[in-house]
């Protein structure tokens, strides 16, 4: 008993996500944790692995008209439309707050063109308090007629490369699952110089209001998140882990530590929770403590014993 308690103190779950140092592997996913403030009453935000802030664009965006969200079976659809105050406001208002509160911050950035991505990265450069950049490449590329960056390997390569040229921070593209071959996209990211991969963003879906006989969301389509998508997320991470050597931030439907373990075992170095936070704002904390408990009970000395474990024959 005494021995176990000692071990517990010694278990180190800090981790390195392609140069992004995390005290623990459990992060808050972009768009689900605002800029950290909103959840301050519920959780010590400085203890979260990293807070990945709301997707931020060059200019402020008003977002989509409502309804923006609707619940589905074990999931939800969202079509927020990247409402955000723009990169300046983020750097001037939100980042200082997060820095003061000792939060590990990953900036999530989005653009309509490669130049926009690069410009935002350049503006972030030099601002203390940002540990890394997550590239939301699931937005439509206006120059290419709305085709999403994240579905074309060539565009993925170019966006990553352009951003890498403008920043010294670790860069982590967030892959869209709405593709035929996720490995191809991961390889393109690697070729572009990505330091890590974030997987997965939401699946594109929709719902119909049978009373009005219209699409439920004003935007028609929305991103599906929550437990419903976990099997797809696990599969994609498993596939990519075998073929690409970059560390992976895994997420999609995690609502408890057992889910988190599945993600580690298929190959995620760290995990992110999104929708789960809406239900339980203390989820990040809870997963960390259950993870420690699990490791202790099962004599797992380090996270690396778990990462990719499901690939062993």
């Amino acid at each position: 008993m005494k021995k176990e308690m000692e071990i517990s103190r010694e278990i180190d779950i800090s981790t390195d996500l392609g140069g992004i140092k995390l005290n623990n592997p459990v992060c808050a996913a972009s768009g689900t944790f605002g800029y950290g403030r909103e959840y301050e009453p519920y959780v010590d935000i400085s203890k979260i692995g990293a807070v990945i802030v709301k997707g931020t664009t060059l200019e402020p965006r008003a977002g989509n008209p409502p309804p923006r969200i609707i619940e589905t079976a074990s999931g939800m659809l969202n079509a927020i439309g990247l409402e955000n105050p723009g990169i300046n406001e983020f750097l001037n208002t939100h980042l200082p707050y997060l820095r003061e509160n000792n939060v590990t911050v990953i900036a999530n950035i989005a653009g309509n063109t490669i130049e926009e991505y690069a410009a935002i990265a350049e503006m972030i450069e030099g601002n203390p308090g940002v540990a890394g950049i997550e590239l939301n490449i699931s937005c439509p590329n206006v120059k290419q007629g709305g085709l999403q960056f994240g579905t074309d390997p060539q565009m993925v390569y170019e966006v990553v490369k352009a951003v890498k040229e403008k920043t010294t921070l670790p860069v982590m593209p967030k892959l869209s699952p709405n593709v035929t071959d996720i490995v191809e996209i991961a390889r393109a990211s690697e070729a572009g110089g990505a330091d890590a991969l974030s997987m997965i963003n939401t699946l594109m879906g929709m719902a119909v209001d049978i009373n009005t006989r219209k699409p439920f969301l004003a935007n028609i389509f929305g991103g599906l998140s929550g437990p419903a998508i976990k099997p797809v997320a696990l599969r994609m991470i498993y596939q990519v882990y075998r073929e690409v050597k970059l560390p992976i931030l895994g997420g999609g439907g995690i609502v408890n530590y057992r889910d988190a373990l599945e993600f580690l075992m298929v190959g995620a170095t760290a995990i992110s929770v999104g929708t789960g936070i809406f239900i339980n704002p203390q989820l990040t904390e809870e997963i960390v403590s259950n993870l420690l408990h699990y490791m202790q009970e099962n004599n797992v000395a380090s996270l690396s014993e778990l990462v990719g474990a499901a690939h062993q024959a």
């Binding site: 909103e38 409502p66 923006r68 609707i70 927020i80 929550g226 609502v255 936070i277 809406f278 704002p281």
Partner: protein
């Protein structure tokens, strides 16, 4: 500061065909409750339904540390909630949102509730009464059976006037007709309203015509309930360029700021 707690259910009663009153002990939450705020409650412990559901604070007993909710069964979540028994726990977050702005001094107040929209007005009435306000309540429902807050409002000491569509109690017809026929605007300092938007739209017009301060409580689908997900967006006026978040900037808004659906 709002919090998250397991609230111990101390009473849970069906008050008519599809409405329930649920009282739970959660002292830290009860202590903070302001009229017009809401509780974000998880119906059931599993992923289905996945998200919490927002329910207005219907009543609070700070001495006991309890909060009471009044809800109508409309779908999955509310149906599941009905199966919670006393001595069991409900997972609650709150109090959330911006509640009603209270008058600085005793005033003559009108509350207009439609259906289950009466919920936030009851705790509001209690607090206003404690401040020495003079309160008139209009409550419109389908039928006598839905006048579930009558007893509480009478005990609080309000003047209560029902309107039922079937005429089984009080005025027969819309509560807005009752408003226009019965209420003397000059004798009013302030109005608070919650209910179907077309009803509130009439209240808004009434308030505007007679230049009376008024607030409304709005609804939108919610995920986080705290302003993090940006899901519960609404343009207060059609030509606004920005969306407010009903969960954080509301659910209560000044009636002049809002364009209501008719």
């Amino acid at each position: 500061m709002p919090g998250m707690q397991q609230g111990l259910v101390i009473s849970h009663n069906q008050v008519n065909r599809d409405m329930f009153e649920l009282e739970f002990i959660a002292p830290e939450i009860a202590e903070e409750c302001q009229p017009g705020q809401f509780i974000h409650i998880k119906p059931g412990l599993r992923d289905q339904p996945l998200l919490r559901r927002p329910l207005s604070i219907y009543d609070v007993d700070k001495r006991l540390g309890s909060v009471t909710l009044l809800y109508k069964v409309v779908g999955t979540g509310t149906r599941l909630l009905t199966s919670v028994r006393t001595k069991e726990y409900v997972d609650v977050m709150g109090p959330l949102g911006r509640g009603f702005k209270l008058p600085d001094q005793p005033e003559r107040i009108l509350l207009v509730g439609g259906g289950v929209g009466i919920a936030p007005l009851v705790y509001l009435a209690r607090v206003l009464e404690e401040q020495g306000c003079d309160i008139t309540v209009l409550h419109g429902t389908e039928s006598r059976r839905q006048l579930v807050a009558f007893e509480k409002l009478r005990q609080i000491g309000t003047d209560f006037f029902p309107a039922t569509m079937d005429g089984t109690a009080g005025y027969k017809g819309l509560v807005t007709e009752l408003l226009l026929k019965k209420i003397e605007p000059k004798k009013l300092d302030r109005i608070y309203t919650c209910g179907p938007e077309p009803m509130m739209a009439v209240v808004a017009e009434f308030a505007a015509n007679h230049n009376i301060e008024a607030e409304v409580s709005l609804e939108e689908y919610m995920a986080c309930g705290v302003g993090a997900c940006l899901g519960c967006a609404r343009k207060l006026k059609t030509n606004d360029t920005q969306y407010v978040k009903v969960c954080k900037d509301g659910p209560v808004f000044n009636i002049k700021e809002v364009e209501l659906y008719k």
